[in-house]
Amino acid sequence: MVNKLLKYDLKYMIKNMAIFYILSIFFALTTRILFNMEQSAIINIISQISVGCMFAMIVNTLINTIMRSWIRFRDSLYKDESYLTHTLPVTKNELYNSKFIQMLIFFFISFIIILISLFIAYYSKENWLAITNYIKTITTGLNISTLFFITMTIIIIFLEIFNAIQCGFLGIIMGNKMNNSKLGYSVFFGVIIYLIAQAIILLLVFIYGLFDSTVMELFKTATINIDVKAFKVLAIVSSLLYILIIFIMSMLCKKELNKGVNIE
């Protein structure tokens, strides 16, 4: 049944996100075209507007992916639509899994759209060279491969955002257990859960540091002079910890949902 639920969750998201994707790519194209035109004062002004619009759409794409995931979660499970959702012959776990997978898929799509938009607007041999050189400077300094650096950076960004979105899901579940000010409590619980999750990750890294002196150095020194080994270990350990936290959070969400809901 998850696939059927997912089909409708994805349809909802695409209906709401398509406009941001289209506008993001549209303004990327106009930016590109305007940059390639013969420059004049007017063209220059229009170019700047186009760049502004493109970045506004990129930011909107990112924020809306997160916000729409939360809104869909809340509307589907606690608002009018929940009268249908909770009477469908599906388990609470399936309901949750569908929302979670939808969030993963759309964050990935949004990420790709943002990359495509930036690529369309700014790709040139010079820019590409500048970026690769910049990354090389970092990776040479850290003595790690470019592939490892890019992969780990993307993984950690993804995990951090998945974690934040899931904290929002748990916040919504907890907030809707209250009898009044459900929205206020949802935000409050979401922020508290996020801070607790971050504190737990930091604590676990510290505990790991007790057995690894290179990682412990990060807690002892004020200068950000990361040791090569420490960077690698930190990237891998924090990724694993994020995965663990996301898994635990997911279990908590399902457990709370399975206790039952109280729809107004």
Binding site: K4, Y8, E81, S82, T91, N179, K259, V261, I263
Partner: protein, 234 residues
């Protein structure tokens, strides 16, 4: 008509904070009956219905449908019409039909389309462009197009003109699975009286009466509407 217990409610209580909304509800409903769940506004009718449909969690007690606790299996056999419009308004009517077809094995899409046509509703139309009344008709058509064991209709006549009320009642009567039972919650008793086999009176969170409609009428020598008015006179 079978006497198998379709719906069994045992010692059901529901509280919000410290306020008891339902108090020790015990009910048995068998198959093949049309039951009126009657009570004043705020008596606890909707709360009871929401508990049966897993939209509320009981404080204590048990609800069984066909001997099973509320869950996936019971949702397969219960067709529920809530008092509010609950469909995603971004969808078109035919998309909602597809959704019902996807999730409910007992859903008859041809019947739904036929009913919607009879109700003069365009399946290509967006729900957002429909009036509340039209959306309610769509919901009724969908709910009555299932071959469920138990239909639960919460205030299906509220906010509807008298002529449409008759049409809705006829739609309900001519479209439900005869082996099934229907629970209709309403305070518009005179409108549904003619179709009821059984009545349940609920007041201040308690079931105060459960009886056959005919027996009650004969015993009290009055219509259900009159009995209700007498019983719940301010």
């Amino acid at each position: 008509m079978s006497n198998m217990k379709l719906l069994e409610i045992k010692s059901l209580n529901k509280s919000f904070d410290n306020k008891k909304v339902l108090k020790d509800i015990n009910l048995n409903i068998s198959s093949g009956k049309i039951i009126g769940l009657l009570g004043k506004n705020g008596a606890g009718k909707t709360t009871l219905i929401k508990l049966i449909n897993d939209l509320l969690t009981p404080t204590s007690g048990e609800i069984l449908i066909n001997g099973k606790k509320i869950g996936v299996e019971t949702k397969k056999v219960v067709s529920y019409l809530p008092e509010r419009t609950y469909l995603n308004k971004q969808m078109k009517v035919f998309e909602v039909i597809k959704l019902f077809k996807d999730f409910y094995e007992d859903f008859d899409d041809k019947k739904a389309k036929k009913l919607l046509k009879e109700l003069d509703l365009d399946i290509e139309q967006h729900l957002t462009k429909m009036s509340k009344g039209m959306q309610e008709k769509v919901q009724l058509a969908l709910v009555m197009s299932r071959k469920a064991d138990l239909y639960i209709l919460d205030e299906p006549l509220s906010g509807v003109d008298p002529a449409t009320r008759d049409y809705i009642l006829d739609t309900i009567l001519s479209n439900f699975n005869e082996k099934a039972s229907i629970i209709i919650s309403t305070h518009l008793i005179s409108d549904i009286e003619r179709i009821l086999d059984e009545v349940i009176f609920i007041d201040k969170g308690k079931v105060v009466l459960q009886s056959s409609a005919d027996k009650l009428r004969n015993k009290e020598k009055a219509s259900i509407d009159e009995i209700f008015r007498r019983m719940f006179k301010w």
